[in-house]
């Protein structure tokens, strides 16, 4: 039980707990805020995994943009401050069972895999993850095409969402 492991366990608990709050809490704004906590925890996980770039991008993109968008959306689509009535569909217990089954199935599939409990090797000396990532993103024999496609996707989403949310009046 090293410090890292304790740290991981705390993070994991935070993530799962806040995720549960996200899906259960009544007040949608609170749900969005809990989502932010979850996302932050995930960012910490990335940091634990030495993916510092992703960690920061997670904060920038998810917390800085997506979560804010959510809060706005919630604000724009509510009549009054508090939500009344149950926020869950009737028969949510069935959904819960399904979700549990899914988790069970995933777990079973994973533990059947032989690489399940392997540990990470140290980085080779002088290894620069960010540099590697940058090269991988722009070198033609790696991922430049998916990268460009993703950018096109973003553009399309931008245009589409503007068109959708545009108030024709």
């Amino acid at each position: 039980m090293t410090a890292m492991q304790i740290f991981f366990l705390i993070t994991g608990l935070v993530i799962l707990g806040s995720a549960l709050m996200v899906v259960t809490t009544r007040n949608l704004i609170h749900a969005a805020l809990w989502l932010i906590v979850t996302l932050f925890g995930v960012a910490v996980l990335y940091a634990i995994l030495n993916a510092s770039f992703l960690a920061v991008v997670q904060v920038v993109v998810y917390i800085g943009a997506i979560a804010i968008l959510f809060i706005f959306a919630v604000m724009l689509t509510r009549k009054e401050m508090r939500d009344r009535g149950p926020q869950l569909n009737t028969g949510w217990w069935l959904n819960a069972i399904i979700a549990l089954l899914t988790f069970g199935g995933l777990f079973w599939m994973l533990q059947g895999w032989n690489g399940f409990s392997k540990t990470a090797a140290d980085f080779p000396s002088g290894y620069d993850a960010v540099g590697q990532l940058g090269k991988a993103l722009i070198s033609p024999d790696a991922f430049v095409l998916p990268f460009e496609v993703a950018s096109v996707l973003l553009l399309a989403a931008l245009v589409g969402s503007v068109y959708l949310a545009f108030n024709r009046k």
Binding site: Q5, L35, Y62, T77, S117, T119, L137, A150
Partner: protein, 102 residues
């Protein structure tokens, strides 16, 4: 040192929670929240596989970044949809948007 299994189990749990949210939240925005959770679970997997696999292969991180892009566009479009629906139907409860039934 943390074994890979921890990450995988964590992401599986996160995924299931997100699934639950998607299945059982009333509010469309809340459903989108659930989808975000699921996407994050996927990302955790991707990154941990990168770290625990051959680190010179950046596929994991690159895919994670692409998932970021996808998530961003998904949220943008989804929320735009929700808002325009709210304008016309004055509701964001998914079950009330059931025009497509028999």
């Amino acid at each position: 040192m943390i074994p890979l299994s921890w990450f995988l189990i964590l992401s599986a749990a996160l995924f299931s929670i997100g699934l639950f949210g998607v299945l059982s939240r009333k509010n469309a925005v809340a459903i989108l929240l659930g989808i975000e959770l699921m996407l994050n679970a996927v990302n955790i997997n991707l990154v941990s596989f990168w770290r625990y696999g051959d680190v010179s292969q950046m596929a994991g991180q690159v895919f994670a970044i692409i998932v970021f892009a996808v998530a961003a566009s998904e949220v943008a479009v989804g929320l735009a949809l929700v808002i325009s629906v709210y304008r016309r139907r004055n509701t964001v409860i998914a079950d009330e948007l059931d025009l497509m039934k028999w």
